[in-house]
C-alpha cells in the first residue's frame, strides 16, 4: 500500500490489535510513518502508547494485524532482526550498558552494525573505526568530548542523549522514541526539543510524548490514542482544534 503521494511508508501498521486478558491495549490501530516524517503519538496515561511501540520493535507480539517496514511484513522477525533492518528504539527510562563508558556504549552499536562481535583478540580500546563512529554519534546528540565518562555517572538527560547516540550509531531509518522529554528539567527539555528538531527529515520518527506543546511544535502529523484506539490523526492544527481530542485528552483550556 502506498500513500496518496505515492511514497511507500517507512512504517505501516495495519489493524493492529493486542489484548492482555480482557484488557484491549491496542484496538484496531492503523497508522503510517513516511520516510523523514515525524509522526507524534499522544494520549493519556495507559492509552497503550508504549505497548504499541513494543509491537513495532518486536518486544510484544500483536494478536492480530500487520507491521510493515518499507513495505515488507516484519511480524515474524525477532527484535534483533528488526533492529538490523533499521528500527532503533529509545526507552521511556533510558537503557544503557551501565558498566561501559559513554564511548563503549556507542561502540557496541558500531560493533553490531559492522558485524564484528566475534573479533575476540584485538583490543577494542583505541580502534580508530570504533572511536570515529562513537565520536560521530556522540557529536550528533551533543555529548562530544564525553566519551571517557562512565555511563552510569551520567545525569538523566545525558543518559537520554547517549541512548539516542546508541540508536543513531546503528544507522537506522526509523526511530521509535518513547517520551524523550519525560523527567527532564526545563533547560534539558529545550535542548532535547532542539536535538529532535535536527533529526527532522533525516529519520522517520514515531514520537510518543506527553508534552503536547513540544509535540505541536515538532510533529508533521499527530495521532491521538485513547484506550488503545486511535481517535484522531492529522496535521497538528487540525488535532488541536478537534473537539473529540479536546474532550478526551487535551482539555478545553488547552491552547
Amino acid at each position: 500500500m502506498t500513500s496518496a503521494a505515492g511514497v511507500t511508508p517507512l512504517l505501516d501498521l495495519r489493524r493492529l490489535t493486542k489484548r492482555f486478558g480482557a484488557l484491549v491495549v491496542t484496538d484496531d490501530v492503523s497508522l503510517t510513518v513516511l520516510p523523514g516524517e515525524m509522526h507524534a503519538l499522544i494520549g493519556p496515561n495507559g492509552a497503550g502508547k508504549s505497548c504499541l511501540i513494543g509491537q513495532i520493535s518486536g518486544e510484544l507480539v500483536p494478536d492480530s494485524g500487520e507491521v510493515l517496514f518499507r513495505g515488507a511484513r516484519v511480524d515474524d522477525l525477532s527484535i534483533q532482526a528488526r533492529a538490523r533492518l533499521g528500527v532503533a528504539r529509545a526507552y521511556q527510562v533510558p537503557r544503557l550498558f551501565g558498566s561501559l563508558s559513554v564511548e563503549g556504549n556507542t561502540a557496541i552499536s558500531e560493533i553490531v552494525r559492522s558485524r564484528s562481535a566475534f573479533h575476540l583478540w584485538a583490543p577494542a580500546a583505541g580502534q580508530r573505526g570504533l572511536q570515529m563512529a562513537a565520536a560521530a554519534a556522540l557529536a550528533q546528540v551533543g555529548l562530544q568530548g564525553q566519551g571517557h565518562r562512565p555511563s552510569a555517572e551520567l545525569a538523566h538527560g545525558e543518559k537520554r542523549q547517549l541512548e539516542l547516540a546508541m540508536g543513531l550509531a546503528a544507522a537506522p531509518s526509523l526511530l521509535l522514541l518513547d517520551e524523550p522529554l519525560a523527567g527532564l528539567g526545563p533547560g534539558d527539555s529545550d535542548a532535547m526539543v532542539g536535538l529532535l528538531r535536527t533529526f527532522k527529515g533525516r529519520y522517520g520518527i514515531l514520537l510518543v510524548e506527553h508534552d503536547v506543546e513540544a509535540v505541536f511544535a515538532l510533529a508533521d502529523r499527530v495521532s491521538v490514542l485513547v484506550g488503545g484506539r486511535l481517535i484522531a490523526s492529522g496535521a497538528p492544527e487540525a488535532i488541536r482544534g478537534d473537539p473529540a481530542v479536546r474532550a478526551a485528552y487535551l482539555g478545553d483550556d488547552f491552547g
Binding site: S57, E59, S78, I79, Q80, A81, A83, R84, A88, R89, R95, L96, F97, G98, S99, L100, S101, E103, G104, A107, I108, S109, I111, V112, R113, S116, A117, F118, H119, L120, W121, A122, P123, A124, A125, G126, Q127, L130, Q131, G145, G147, H148, P150, A152, M166, A170
Partner: protein, 331 residues
C-alpha cells in the same frame, strides 16, 4: 581529545592515590609469581605440589570468571569440564597416548565440545534456571563417570601413566607439573585479558548489563555467550589434566557439585570480572585449605566464616583489598 576508554570502569585505576594502588597490585602479583617460581627450587615436594595445586585451581577459577564475571552467567556445573580434563588425562594413556601435545589439546577439545552442546541448551535459560541447568548437566556427566564400571565407577582409578611433556619431562614430577601449570596459567591470564578487552568481550559485558537492550540494537546475546561458554569449558578441562597428574588419580569426585561450588568460592573470594582476582582467590583458597585443615578437622566451617566475612567486609574481594577499590560491583 580525552583518552579512549572502551574498557570497563572496573579496569580503570582507582581514584584514591592515582595509580599507586594499581602499582601495588602489579607488585603483589609479581611477588607472588616470583614466590611460585622459587618454591619448586627448594626441593620440597609438599610445597611444590601446593604451588601446582594453586596454579591448577587458578586456571579453573579464571575460566569460571569469564562466565560469572564477564558474562554474568553463574554456572554451578563448571567442575564437569574439570572432570572431563581429568578423565582425558586418565583414559588416553590406556590407548598408549601419553604426550601432552596430544592430551592437552584433546582435553580442551573434549571440554569445548561438551561445553558447546550443554551450553547451547543451558544458555536458553537465564538467572536461577541457568544455575540449575548447568548443575543438572554436571550431575548427568558425574553419573556417567560414576557408571563407568570398567573404570572404577564411583571409586575411579589410579592414573595409569603421567602425561609426558617430551623427552624425560613428565608431569608426574611435581617440579615439572608446577612450572607447566604456572606457564599455562600465565598464557590463560593473557588470553583472558585479550578476550575481555576485545570487541567480543565488550559485547559479552553489554549482554550481561542488559541483554534486551543488546537485542534492541540488533544482536542476539546467545551466539557470543555460547562461544564464551565453550572457551571457558576448554580452559577448565586443561586444568583437569594438571589435576589428574597432581593427585595421580581419576575419579568422579573431581566433577562433583561440591567441586563446582569450590570454584565459585574462589571466584567470589578474589572478586569476579577481574581475572587476576579469581587467581588470587584460588591461591588463597588452596592455602587456607592446607593451613586450616592442619589446625582443625572442622576447616570447612572456618572457610565458610571467611566467605561470609569477605562478602560482608570486602566489596571487591581480595582484588579490592589490594587495589583499594570500593566499587558498587557486588561480588
Amino acid at each position: 581529545m580525552p583518552a579512549p576508554s572502551l574498557r570497563e570502569p572496573d579496569d580503570a585505576p582507582p581514584e584514591d592515590g592515582p595509580g599507586s594502588r594499581r602499582r601495588l597490585l602489579r607488585a603483589v602479583l609479581f611477588a607472588l609469581l616470583l614466590a611460585a617460581l622459587a618454591v619448586p627450587l627448594l626441593g620440597q615436594p609438599y610445597y611444590t605440589k601446593l604451588v601446582a595445586r594453586m596454579a591448577i585451581f587458578a586456571i579453573a577459577a579464571l575460566s569460571l570468571d569469564l562466565l560469572v564475571g564477564y558474562g554474568g552467567l553463574v554456572s554451578f556445573g563448571h567442575a564437569a569440564f574439570f572432570g572431563i580434563g581429568v578423565y582425558t588425562a586418565g583414559l588416553l594413556p590406556m590407548l598408549g597416548i601419553r604426550q601432552a601435545v596430544v592430551i592437552v589439546p584433546a582435553a580442551a577439545l573434549a571440554g569445548a565440545l561438551v561445553g558447546c552442546v550443554t551450553g547451547a541448551v543451558s544458555l536458553r535459560a537465564s538467572g536461577l534456571y541457568f544455575i540449575f541447568i548447568t548443575l543438572a548437566f554436571a550431575e548427568m556427566i558425574f553419573y556417567i563417570a560414576q557408571g563407568l564400571r570398567m573404570f572404577g565407577g564411583d571409586d575411579g582409578f589410579r592414573l595409569p601413566a603421567a602425561t609426558l611433556l617430551g623427552g624425560e619431562l613428565s608431569l608426574g614430577h611435581p617440579v615439572v607439573l608446577a612450572y607447566t601449570m604456572i606457564g599455562l596459567l600465565l598464557v590463560f591470564i593473557y588470553a583472558g585479558r585479550r578476550i575481555a578487552a576485545s570487541r567480543f568481550g565488550q559485547v559479552v559485558v553489554a549482554a550481561r548489563d542488559d541483554e534486551g537492550k543488546l537485542r534492541a540494537i540488533g544482536l542476539s546475546p546467545f551466539p557470543g555467550r555460547l562461544l564464551l561458554y565453550t572457551i571457558a569449558s576448554a580452559m577448565c578441562a586443561v586444568a583437569g589434566v594438571g589435576f589428574a597428574n597432581l593427585v595421580e588419580y581419576v575419579s568422579p569426585a573431581s566433577m562433583s557439585w561440591i567441586q563446582s561450588g569450590e570454584f565459585l568460592f574462589m571466584v567470589i573470594l578474589g572478586s569476579a570480572a577481574t581475572l587476576v582476582g579469581p587467581v588470587l582467590g584460588a591461591a588463597a583458597y588452596v592455602g587456607l585449605e592446607q593451613v586450616l585443615s592442619s589446625w582443625t578437622e572442622h576447616w570447612m566451617f572456618w572457610l565458610g566464616v571467611i566467605l561470609v566475612l569477605r562478602v560482608l567486609l570486602l566489596r571487591q574481594g581480595l582484588y579490592g583489598l589490594i587495589t583499594g577499590r570500593r566499587g558498587a560491583g557486588g561480588a
